[in-house]
């Protein structure tokens, strides 16, 4: 009956030790890996124009992806619409962000990442609206593999057939290899893998996903753009040899063809680390693939170039050094725009350079906006030949017009 002195001290020790664990468990089920990512603010955002010039912006807050529309180029926004009716632990931090794309008949396609209650485990979700963003269909998981492992860093683009194409970073091959060969050693699987899937029925369902490439980087966003023939192409960071973090380019065919990724940057930045800086890709009507990418060999560098898959990019130009991050690129005709964040002790400057000769030469860098508070990666958008930058900041979302110079 009596617990005894030793028993009491053990009991109290257990109780005292359990308290901090309990205080750390924030999930509904008490064993969530992360505090709900959606509980506080997050800055991950993306935007798209529909053909009539309506701007659509997605962010995540309070467990929901929120879609907002603006009919006056970002001056005012309508009431946010919840894309996912059911609360989810949405990951909209780092290079994870909700994505939005507009279909050929004005459908609004949205993808996002849900964090699962296990370290690094996540699903990529998709939902569509066929009534101009008033309501969304019940969301579906894009990938057939539903194991609790990484399916993250999704990117979304509509191809020339009007099919939404989704690419993501996937850990299934890494996990399978780890079980067989372990984490270290000559057979250890480097990085994760890049997969994609598409919908052939307007977003009602997705075909089973296909692997684009083994050994992708683990936490860098992927860049997608449409080729002149309508096929969506991808530019993304890979892991070559012993942790060389160069980039690959691949088509994402939806006609039965096989993706054939080719190494397309050769900076030889060798590092067993997470750069958390994915590239940008824009393809001109004449098929030139304009890219921007980051590498940290000997210090931070942001590069512009034109892809020549299998070889180093042409017209390479160093766009940024220390303080520069998260560049994007856009093209219209012979005009190429590059935008990036430049940080200093005072805060962030949004910088732009543009070319009027198809990327052979660029004008001086200029500041188009500033922020004293945290900002997200700039996203370049083109509508009717004019460039805009979607820039989500802690003090609010901004759409910034870019003049040609």
């Amino acid at each position: 009956m009596s617990v005894g002195l030793r028993g009491w001290s053990h009991l109290l020790l257990m109780v005292a030790c359990l308290v901090p664990l309990a205080a750390n468990a924030h999930g509904d089920d008490g064993h969530m890996e992360m505090a709900p990512a959606s509980a506080g603010p997050s800055l991950g955002a993306s935007a798209a124009f529909s053909s009539d010039g309506t701007l659509w912006v997605v962010t995540a807050s309070g467990g929901h992806v929120l879609l907002r529309r603006s009919a006056d180029f970002g001056k005012t926004f309508g009431v946010p619409v919840e894309v996912n009716a059911k609360h989810q632990n949405i990951d909209s931090f780092g290079e994870n962000k909700p994505n939005v794309a507009i279909g050929q008949r004005g459908q609004i396609y949205v993808t996002w990442v849900e964090k699962l209650p296990e370290k690094w485990a996540s699903y990529v979700w998709f939902s569509r609206s066929t009534n101009g963003g008033k309501t969304f269909d019940a969301p579906l998981i894009v990938h057939r593999d539903h194991a609790w492992l990484t399916h993250s860093f999704d990117a979304l683009k509509v191809n020339g057939k009007g099919q939404p194409v989704v690419a993501w970073i996937d850990a299934r091959d890494h996990v399978a290899s780890m079980k067989q060969y372990g984490m270290k050693g000559p057979h250890a699987y480097k990085g994760l893998a890049m997969y994609y899937a598409w919908s052939a029925d307007g977003g009602k369902s997705f075909v089973p996903g296909e692997k684009v490439m083994d050994h992708s980087c683990e936490c860098c966003r992927l860049a997608l753009a449409r080729e002149p023939n309508g096929v969506v192409a991808a530019f993304f960071r890979g892991v070559y040899d012993d942790n060389v973090r160069d980039h690959a380019f691949s088509m994402l065919p939806t006609d039965g063809g096989t993706p054939l990724p080719e190494r397309s940057t050769f900076n030889e930045w060798q590092v067993a680390a997470c750069p958390e800086q994915g590239p940008g890709l824009a393809i001109s009507a004449d098929g030139v693939r304009h890219v921007v990418w980051y590498e940290g060999k000997g210090g931070p560098h942001i590069w512009y170039g034109q892809l020549d898959p299998g070889h180093a990019p042409q017209y390479r130009l160093q766009i940024g050094g220390p303080g520069a991050s998260h560049a994007d690129v856009a093209v219209y005709g012979q005009t190429v725009w590059v935008a990036w964040n430049l940080v200093s002790a005072a805060g962030y400057a949004l910088k732009v350079r543009n070319s009027t000769d198809g990327g052979r030469s660029f004008g001086e860098a200029r500041t188009v906006a500033e922020s004293a508070v945290a900002v997200y990666s700039p996203q370049l958008l083109v509508h009717k030949g004019r460039a805009w930058i979607a820039w989500n900041t802690l003090s609010g979302f901004r759409l910034i017009p870019v003049q040609r110079q």
């Binding site: 001290s9 005292a16 506080g40 931070p300 303080g323």
Partner: protein, 172 residues
């Protein structure tokens, strides 16, 4: 008498379980304190992120080296994730990695670029990032998981080896 035991057990339990210092907020104002030159030996500051798979092995390996040289090496971790959004997850991850006993900080900004830049303009934000500060004020920094050879060189760390460890990434 029994009451004294209960009190003793409570104090003991609190001491044992709360062995780690509390997670501290790192804003721009705290950077000079973080980067202060140690009076003796070497301070190793490891920057990491919740999304980084290379970071936990790196911090565990650094902790092993620190425990072998407790008088000479001070080890500090800094999460580049925002403390208000991720504080509980950061503490849990540190605890699971056996790092609860080490001084730990986390960023106070939703995107890390400004603090990264203030700490070291020559760092693009990749993690793990390990910064070494010696008592003579010299510093070196390395991006990426440290190799066994690099770990073996951490102490004693004569200046001739700092460059080798840092692969040329010398900050000052």
């Amino acid at each position: 008498m029994k009451r004294w035991w209960v009190l003793f057990a409570l104090v003991f339990a609190t001491t044992v379980c709360a062995a780690g210092p509390a997670l501290r907020s790192l804003g721009g104002g705290q950077i000079p304190e973080l980067l202060k030159t140690p009076s003796h030996g070497e301070r190793i500051i490891m920057f990491w992120a919740l999304s980084c798979a290379y970071c936990e092995p790196n911090m565990k390996a650094l902790a092993t080296v620190q425990r072998a040289h407790p008088q000479d090496i001070e080890l500090v971790t800094v999460a580049t994730d925002d403390i208000s959004a991720h504080g509980a997850a950061i503490e849990k991850r540190l605890s699971q990695a056996g790092m609860a006993g080490y001084a730990a900080w986390a960023y106070t900004e939703l995107t890390p670029q400004r603090l990264n830049f203030l700490i070291d303009p020559n760092w693009g934000g990749e993690t793990p990032r390990t910064l070494f500060i010696l008592s003579n004020g010299e510093r070196a920094a390395v991006s990426g998981e440290l190799t066994r050879t690099e770990l073996d060189q951490l102490w004693p760390l004569p200046m001739s080896q700092v460059d080798a460890v840092a692969k040329g990434h010398v900050v000052d």
